[in-house]
Amino acid sequence: MVQDRSFASRILDAFIILILILVALITLIPFIHVLAGSFTTTAELARRGFVLFPTEWSLTAYRYIFSTDTIFKGLLNSIGITLFGTLFSMFISSLMAYGLSRRDLDGRRTIMFLVVFTMLFNGGLIPTFLVVKEAGLIDSYLALIIPFTINAFNLIILKNFFQNLPEGLEESAKIDGCNDFGIFFRIVVPLSMPAIATISLFYAVTYWNTYLPAILYLNDTDKWPVQIILRQIVIVATGLSFDDSGFEDAALPPSQSVKMAAIIVATIPILCVYPFLQKHFAKGALLGSIKG
């Protein structure tokens, strides 16, 4: 594209760059502040206030939160839920998406309508709770996974991706004597790795971030994922919640740096997968995803 080189145009570019730098800083500064604060002492936080780089490094906060096994257990629970949940969700979602992507399937439009309708209307909290309870999932890790197996949006993205693969491949595989499962696992999955990776990471992030289902379905605090533990440390223990269920020692609110360390511990795993996410959603796996 020919660039407009006039003076006014350059001023505009400079202005836009300035605004975007500001936006990026506003996005990053809270993270940096929390990260720096978690590695310093409460005394320094109190003295300097706006800490973006600690002068007094300290691991006290991390030692404190790992002195009991609460957070550690929470991390293990979250890792288990995330790994198992993502595999399960991907398996069920991609099979269904592939079935629905085949144009010669009778009833495909009806099923798609049923899927899309759940995005518009749902039974809500209490009826869903009753179903989960009837299914015997209360106080089971599975309560955080099975009721969330498929995200309709992710299903549609996968379906659209499969649908846009060249049809000739399937035909030739069929002639070679492959059945539909063979076609799916040996041809479609390897060709769809960008979409599968993206959606897996979406599911993984959702499972890692899950907390409300745990509040609804898990009374057993030993099974709590790290997100609820974080909520207990930062919000409940400070007396800022409207229901303080299941928190034992609310006597002394944790110090600022302990809270910050807890935030970092719950955030780091996401930041570790972020570069992979970043790589994939640039590839246009999301394109054309809006339309059902």
Binding site: L28, H33, P127, I146, F181, Q227, Q278
Partner: protein, 317 residues
């Protein structure tokens, strides 16, 4: 498969039916692939919809849906006469409006700005940074804000004190609940919201800009006459989706912000359903509250969809 049409010449109808049977048979593995997912939707989406009928019952857990007594519209009647109803209705509506009027335009503006730049590395860096918060849970977002806003040692209050202002109890204030809520939404979602607009803008034919430049259009006019019309349908689709989402997604977020001091402005339908239903055990009443909310949500989306079709856009559904 017994074929009835062996002797007589097969009518078009029976032939179509037998073709269909053949197709079903040929595709039986595909159906097998769909069944687990379909079961999920039936059990965890459609059975709860059926479960909404307990809002017309006096549901008792030990009696179940079949054994509980029918009470007609009693719970809805109670809801509309509940003094709390108008409070939560107003609170939900206000958060909805904040989302549509304040949050919604921001990703469009950000995307327009990113699209104007030719510095690819700078664009990519900014994008990488502003997408990050979308992947943080609400617990993390709210925790970060709490740590920064608290009166004992929070950075914002420290700065206020440093510049000689009085400290503000942001987290327990009715006045600050809504600003904090919408700022958190913007901080988490504004960057990620640009992704689809940027994709739509990337698909615009550069010749359109050249033609506009030939006609002497300034950069602002190019945005107005080329970029915006090109992404108009994307804007409409996302607006409709947003309208459908807002009533649903507020819960995870608001639940964390709600406390005894800001209840008057922070209590929304979902938090009320949670408190009345799961904490106080009023299953039927709270289901009626939830039913009302879902119903209003459905009507809103259908209206938005209808309007967009009326104005010549495609709509979503």
């Amino acid at each position: 498969m017994s074929d009835l049409s062996v002797e007589s010449a097969p009518s078009v109808r029976t032939r179509m039916r037998s073709e269909r049977m053949q197709r079903l048979k040929r595709n039986k593995l595909l159906y097998l692939m769909i069944i687990p997912g379909l079961l999920f939707f039936i059990v965890f989406k459609y059975i709860p919809m059926y479960g909404l009928i307990i809002s017309f019952q006096d549901y008792k857990p030990h009696l179940g849906i079949t054994g509980s007594e029918w009470v007609g519209w009693m719970h809805f009647d109670r809801l509309f006469h509940d003094p709390m109803f108008w409070t939560i209705f107003k609170n939900t509506l206000l958060l909805f409006l904040l989302n549509i009027l304040i949050f919604f335009p921001i990703p469009i503006i950000l995307a327009l700005m990113l699209n104007e730049l030719r510095l690819e590395w700078f664009k990519r860096t900014v994008q990488t940074i502003v997408y990050i918060p979308h992947f943080m849970s609400w617990v993390i977002i709210v925790s970060i804000s709490f740590v920064m806003l608290t009166q004992d040692g929070g950075i914002i209050n420290d700065l206020l004190a440093y510049f000689g202002f009085t400290k503000i109890n942001f987290l327990m204030s009715e006045d600050w609940f809504r600003p904090i809520y919408i700022l958190q939404v913007i901080w988490r979602e504004a960057g990620w919201g640009t992704i689809i607009y940027l994709a739509a803008m990337a698909a615009i034919d550069p010749q359109q800009y050249e033609a506009a430049r030939m006609d002497g259009a300034s950069r602002f006019r190019q945005v107005w006459h080329v970029t915006l019309p090109a992404i108009r349908s994307v804007i409409v689709v996302l607006l409709i989706l947003k309208i459908g989402d807002v009533l649903e997604l507020g819960f995870e977020h608001v639940y964390l912000l709600l406390n005894a001091m800001n209840r008057e402005v922070a209590e929304i339908f979902d938090t009320y359903v949670y408190t009345a239903g799961l904490r106080q055990g009023q299953f039927s009443y709270s289901t009626a509250v939830g039913f009302f909310k879902s119903f209003v949500g459905l009507i809103l989306v259908m209206m938005a969809n209808w309007l967009s079709k009326k104005f010549g856009e495609e709509g979503v559904y």
